[in-house]
């Protein structure tokens, strides 16, 4: 079931100069760390002049899907929603 969270979270991000890619690596939420597995989709939305990077990804154990929002105006991360892959 999809659940709206909208909470700021801790994120470790990795930048690879070789791949020229910056991606979230570890998410810290509710005293638990989730290692990032597959990133399903990454896109950018604009709110006025501010760009937000939206990462939709699952943890390496495929237990939870996360929708993360990186606000480029202050580099804060917000966990917008989670999903366990079930209907209810």
């Amino acid at each position: 079931m999809r659940e709206i969270i909208n909470e700021e979270v801790s994120v470790v991000m990795v930048y690879s100069a070789k791949k020229r890619l910056a991606l979230p690596h570890i998410i810290g939420w509710h005293n638990k760390e989730y290692k990032v597995g597959e990133i399903g989709y990454h896109h950018i939305v604009k709110d006025g002049d501010v760009r937000h990077h939206i990462f939709e990804l699952v943890d390496t154990k495929d237990t939870l899907w996360f929708r993360l929002n990186l606000d480029t105006s202050n580099l804060h991360w917000k966990l917008e929603a989670i999903h366990d892959g079930l209907a209810t």
Binding site: R2, G48, W65, G85
Partner: protein
């Protein structure tokens, strides 16, 4: 003399994303792949399903059923609301992939493109369009994700290309040319042809045409005079033979915005507030497109299935949201509301490019309103949509969400 089939090389390609919104959600969330997913306008029981995954379609969850019905058809269906920005992003990536092959790319909707390969580098190099189609499939996966698949259809005109794209869903690639056209038609029903709905099927049946092959063999005059009773009969005669008739760009005729009310109401104040927001959204799009309008059309649907609509042309140009709203509100004042309003829509029509501005001799306030609208647009562009709004729209941020239009996507 009868017109022959088009024996030219098929160079038109139709490409569409399979179950577009649902497959993009499944790409974004690996945990819902290979599961029934329904994208609904609202996730409340009466919200209408606007797209579903192949797994959901197999359970009968198709366009138009509501969320309650979808859950009755399959209790495990995952219902989601649309993420419009993500679909627009996917559309733009899809477009970018195709532009690597040729500039002759036309977007038919958020998930459909038509590409004309005549004179393209691939054709000049002697590459087969089937190979190009396979490469496009790979490139779309690279751009959008491994789970995303597309149907590719190749034909001598847009009609046959679209028909070919629908032959083997999902992930198909088919070619229809003069050599296999009769064979393809022989396996289809009339309503399988793009553009033939139940109404047209009934008309064709009345003229003794029951199959696509009979449709193909029907004389032009029969189609023109008896079946379609218009030039459309001649167009179908050409279309079915693979001659191009649909490569027409109709251009922008109007800017419209509509809203299905979650909480149906007879309250005129509430309707006016919604109307203002619709006017603001339509106005923003019109101004971004560089147009000014000369008419406003308003329509209302009521819970008791009654319908009311009225439009009025204006002498002076309509540019600012306030101008649209003023005209729409005047129309709204003319309706007697017979029941709770379920849908409302406003359209600005008779468009003209905004430059040069035609000033009215007795219309002192025009420039002020135009400047104000431009200033408000600049603020909203900088600080986000609906940062600066008319007072009537205060606290309406979450009402009237961003939606994807069916068909044309000229604003993306």
């Amino acid at each position: 003399m009868d017109l022959q089939l088009n024996y030219n090389d098929p160079l038109i390609m139709h490409i569409d994303l399979n179950s577009c919104f649902a497959i993009i959600e499944q790409q974004a969330n690996p945990l819902i792949r290979h599961k029934p997913v329904a994208i609904a306008a609202y996730d409340t029981p009466r919200g209408a399903v606007i797209a579903s995954s192949y797994e959901a379609k197999a359970k009968g969850i198709k366009l138009g059923v509501n969320v309650r019905e979808a859950r009755l058809l399959d209790r495990n269906v995952i219902v989601m609301m649309p993420d419009v920005d993500k679909y627009f992003d996917a559309h733009n990536r899809f477009n970018k992939v195709l532009l690597n092959y040729t500039n002759e790319v036309v977007s038919r909707s958020v998930d459909e493109f038509v590409v004309d390969f005549a004179g393209s580098p691939a054709v000049r190099e002697g590459q087969s369009l089937v190979d190009v189609g396979m490469n496009i499939k790979k490139d779309v996966k690279a751009a959008l994700g491994e789970y995303v698949t597309v149907n590719v259809g190749i034909g001598t005109n847009r009609f046959l290309a679209k028909l070919a794209a629908g032959l083997h869903k999902p992930d198909g690639l088919d070619v229809i040319n003069a050599d296999n056209l009769r064979e393809v038609y022989s396996k289809l029903e009339l309503v399988d042809l793009p553009g033939i709905n139940r109404g047209y099927q009934a008309r064709l049946n009345m003229a003794g045409i029951y199959t696509p092959l009979q449709f193909l063999d029907a004389p032009m005059l029969l189609l023109k005079k008896q079946v379609f009773k218009s030039i459309c009969g001649y167009y179908w005669y050409l279309r079915l033979r693979g001659h191009e008739i649909d490569n027409v760009d109709y251009g922008r005729k109007s800017f419209g915005q509509q809203y299905a009310l979650g909480d149906k109401t007879t309250d005129r104040n509430q309707i006016s507030r919604l109307l203002m927001k619709l006017c603001e959204k339509a106005g923003r799009r019109m101004r971004k497109g560089g147009y000014t309008g000369h008419g406003v059309h308003l329509w209302l649907n009521f819970e008791n299935r009654m319908y009311w609509a009225k439009g009025r042309k204006t002498k002076s140009g309509i540019y600012a949201t306030q101008d649209i709203y003023l005209n729409a509100q005047k129309l709204l004042n003319e309706v007697s509301i017979p029941g709770r309003v379920s849908n409302i829509g406003v359209t600005v029509f008779n468009l003209e490019p905004v430059n040069p501005i035609q000033l009215g001799l007795f219309d002192d306030s025009r420039l002020d309103a135009t400047s104000l609208a431009k200033a408000a647009d600049i603020i909203n562009d900088k600080y986000g949509e609906f940062t600066l709004v008319p007072a009537i729209m205060v606290n309406m941020q979450d009402i009237i969400l961003k939606r994807v239009a069916f068909g044309s996507v000229q604003d993306i």
